[in-house]
Assembly symmetry: C2
Homo-oligomer: 227 residues x 2
């Protein structure tokens, strides 16, 4: 519990989920927080805007220190509270490099699976969607998944995306996979990711931060079944 902290977040937001996973892993569960509704545009509300003029969540405060970018929040917490909870970024140079590499390599998932593919499916009217455009996006998303399937296959079963223990790279990776599964992704084609997903889903920090509306509302789309 960390009564000095305050998080404003939205359910199902991947950046929010990253920060929330790290807060739990570092042992700060129970921190004061506010859930905002994206559909009611509450992330553009006054309490967000005064801490974060971009009107985005997560918006985070630790005492007087305001940090809003999800990657910044995660790294700030890990370094400031280095001796608390799970060690998410290792000190030893080779392991350190490996966790950093995977943490930032995840921008490729964000680009290929979310910005290029999912956003197109979300934002383009059905009648304006072009089959050959979708086909190219599906191919790129499949290639991206195959890269991560390869990483997990090359490591021992029971391992994580950057080594033997849960690291910051997992806090960044897992929400993308869970979001993809919610959007229809069938992990049978990606057995190592499937084993990882099933195992990490049961982790305490993941259970405690699971997007609440996912438990009560079905997803409106399932286009990722095509991957």
């Amino acid at each position: 519990m960390a009564s000095n902290m305050y998080l404003i977040w939205g359910s199902g937001s991947i950046p929010c989920w990253k920060a929330m996973l790290v807060l739990e892993e570092k042992g700060f569960g129970g921190y004061p927080n506010k859930l905002v509704s994206f559909s009611n545009k509450e992330h553009k509300g006054e309490d967000v805007m005064k801490l974060n003029p971009r009107g985005q969540v997560p918006t985070f405060k630790d005492g007087d220190i305001v940090v809003n970018e999800s990657t910044a929040i995660c790294q700030y917490l890990e370094r400031r509270y280095a001796d608390k909870g799970t060690k998410l970024i290792p000190d030893q140079p080779a392991e350190h490099a490996s966790v950093l590499q995977r943490m930032f390599e995840i921008s490729n998932i964000e680009q290929n699976m979310m910005k290029d593919y999912a956003y197109y499916m979300f934002r383009t009217k059905k009648e304006d969607q072009k089959e050959e455009v979708i086909k190219e996006k599906v191919t790129n998303a499949q290639k991206e998944l195959a890269i991560w399937e390869g990483y997990l296959q090359a490591s021992k079963p029971g391992n994580f995306v950057a080594g033997k223990t849960f690291s910051m790279a997992d806090a960044f990776f897992f929400p993308f996979i869970a979001f993809s599964v919610r959007l229809g992704l069938n992990l049978d084609k990606y057995p190592a990711i499937k084993e990882y997903y099933n195992r990490v889903s049961k982790r305490d920090s993941v259970q405690k931060t699971w997007p609440p509306h996912w438990s009560t509302e079905e997803a409106k789309m399932d286009f990722m079944k095509d991957l």
Copy 2:
């Protein structure tokens, strides 16, 4: 000089420039390196692919440790060589948070100025470009620049994007501004960014890493004059 290190890079690549700025700031100038030509697709060549199967640059090695994502390279160098050269990420919590916030807030510049705007201008045939689409992208890019102009105006002249000294946030920010200037951006409308740009351009690390082809070849486009 760091003969154990090896960098493969491309001239004018913002991610490469970030890593090169950090290498200079940490005092590793003169490290072995290889310049590849994007137009000849050398970043997909064998020597890149064996270290970085994604076929991207920067590709970087420090002894046996391979790190390829530019943000990962920068953070790896800063932490492993914490006692060398410029301290780019401060230890004190408030300053640490401020540098991290700006470092990752730069993803908004990348999105609004590069991916949404510049890539559209680069990749859409003149006859397919739509005026109202460009107008919206220009407005978003202007809003983004205004945010950073505000940050620099609010700080004292002579300061940097996250405080009084050159930090990792500057190594991430400066290449975007320099690239925008090369694409026609007139900084007269953004006087604090202009003062910053002129001052930081003269910095030793910046001079030593200036994209070599920028000195010999004119840019092919100048659409950022509209910002």
